[in-house]
Amino acid sequence: MRGYVLKKVGWSIGTLLFVVVFNFFLFRLLPGDPIGLYTRGRNMSPEQLIRLRQQLNRPVGEQFVEYLANPFASAINSTRFNRPVWEIIGERVWPTVLLVGAAVLAAALAGVWLGIRSGWRRGSRFDRITTGTTNTLYAMPEFWVGMMLIMWLPFFPSGGINSVGVSGFLATAVDTLWHMVLPVTALAVVYLAEYTSIMRASLVDELRQDYLTLARAKGLREDLVRRRHAVPNALLPTMTLIFLNLGFVIGGAITVEYVFSWPGLGLLTAEALRGPDIPLLQAVFLLFSLGVIVFTLVADLLYAVLDPRVSTR
């Protein structure tokens, strides 16, 4: 078990290192004049410009070592906001966590329920309708769902996280919830499809197992066979896949936040694109990758703890 944990942690660190290296060199390939972009429209003395250029004129290796020493260095400024990138990111993390957390939770609960119902009665009318619907939902771009919701449900707020002039903790919370309805729906609807099909597939995998026959032979009611035996086993791979699909969720969050002007990391990414604001884009990419790597690691470790069948050697 310890070897397994070490191996997984080592792999995660290796992946992170790869991302950092990639992040550094990719942006060095960028055509154009980074200093020109950085200083456009600002009052800067020629000496300052020369100093900035000298920084970029140093050997790539030296710059790389410096970057490697601290990719989260607070000194890097965003070209768009003219503030340290990590300070901006710090402000934007929580709205994204709130939005994505709510959407994933809602989608996972509903998806697991739908997956169980349709997988258990495979081929039934309910199953056919669910599968058809999930296939269709899966084909929808999240942002388009968001746009349609804004157009057809105009009584919900179409953007932002809070209305102007709302104060007090309770009022703000209710207002935020009210603003969350549409973006969470847009995100959840698409993941619902994903989670339903995962849950259905893993339940169908269990259906052929001998232990279900045994449970029935013991005289258990069909309901109990499903609840006590099949579902717990099918739930395990589903939970892991939900964790592993987080990278996919981030993609959806970027476009949905953009559509709803939700002040999170996704909107920040979309804003960083116009310009482009390279330091900010670099930092956001690093953070997203870090998040996914950590969640992958957690999923791997959880799976090994929860499922004794996983080889941990």
Binding site: A139, P141, F143, S158, L246, A270
Partner: protein, 294 residues
């Protein structure tokens, strides 16, 4: 000899088609794809490409659907229907070309890793896993920003970021094919690595890859739409995502201009759904193990 071979091939194809035809949803998907394929091929006949030129637009902007403009006009007075028809071409080309890149990279990496095994496999699959973990859209955004907005770059970005799934599938399949007796025979007869890989392994891996290809196209088209929506597409070649970007940017939703928002998204959903349906059916037909038998 060849006559027998052809006879067998024809019989296999007939059986394949009969199997495929039993999936009704796959036939629906195929029909949808045929329709959009024809629209893409005859785009210039169906709608004059001059209608894409902003400077030649004569209609009022943001006009509702009328006899002359079945799906209304965009913010520049261009017909949305014309944009849609030509967008079909762009979306399909990007989807197919990006998939081609992804499949080539994925197959080469997968076959090499599976065939040579050992450290080659650990290195290549480790690399694949890295790519699999890095979140797709941020990576694509970063690459598209670095490369700049053009049709070719979008194809490259999507192709280069969506091969890991193929590589894993091909690698697993190669591993199982490698151990079969006919490869031992090929080796005993003096077949080199190249001969074994191209003549024996590839033909056996390809059927599974085919189903995967079709599913990859649907993801690639969705990715293209997303990237274009974020303004990373080629502004001179309007795609469905580009129309949605314009609709969003000019406030089509708050003005209730459904003709500007609904049709492009519907096209994306139909094409992606069609590819998914066909791909799932192919998977079941080509890989009997996936069949959800009684």
């Amino acid at each position: 000899m060849t006559a027998i071979a052809w006879q067998r091939r024809r019989a296999t194809a007939a059986r394949f088609w009969a199997d495929f035809r039993s999936h009704r949803s796959a036939l629906v998907g195929l029909g949808i794809l045929l329709f959009f394929g024809l629209v893409a091929v005859f785009a210039s006949v169906l709608a004059d490409p001059a209608g894409l030129d902003v400077t030649k637009a004569t209609a009022p902007a943001h006009a509702a659907p009328s006899a002359g403009y079945w799906l209304g006009t965009d913010q520049n007075g261009r017909s949305v229907l014309t944009l849609l028809i030509h967008g079909t071409r762009v979306s399909l080309i990007v989807g197919l070309a990006a998939t081609a890149i992804a499949i080539v990279i994925g197959t080469v990496v997968g076959v090499m890793a599976g065939f040579y095994g050992g450290w080659a496999r650990s290195t290549l699959m480790g690399f694949t896993d890295w790519f699999l973990v890095i979140p797709f859209l941020p990576l694509a955004i970063v690459m598209a920003t670095v490369l700049g907005a053009s049709l070719l770059n979008i194809v490259i970005v999507i192709g280069v970021t969506s091969w890991p799934g193929t590589a894993r599938l091909v690698c697993a399949q190669t591993l199982s094919v490698r151990e079969r007796p006919y490869l031992e025979r090929a080796r005993a007869l003096g077949g080199g690595d190249w001969h074994q890989m191209t003549r024996h392994i590839l033909p056996n891996v390809m059927p599974l890859v085919l189903a995967h290809v079709v599913l990859t196209v649907s993801v690639a088209i969705l990715s293209e739409t997303t990237l274009s929506f974020l303004g990373l597409g080629d502004p001179t070649r309007p795609s469905w995502g580009y129309i949605l970007d314009n609709a969003y940017g000019t406030g089509a939703m708050s003005n209730g201009e459904w003709w500007f928002v609904l049709p492009p998204g519907l096209c994306v959903v139909l094409v992606v759904l069609a590819f998914t349906l066909v791909g799932r059916a192919l998977e079941v037909v080509l890989n009997p193990r996936l069949r959800e038998g009684p």
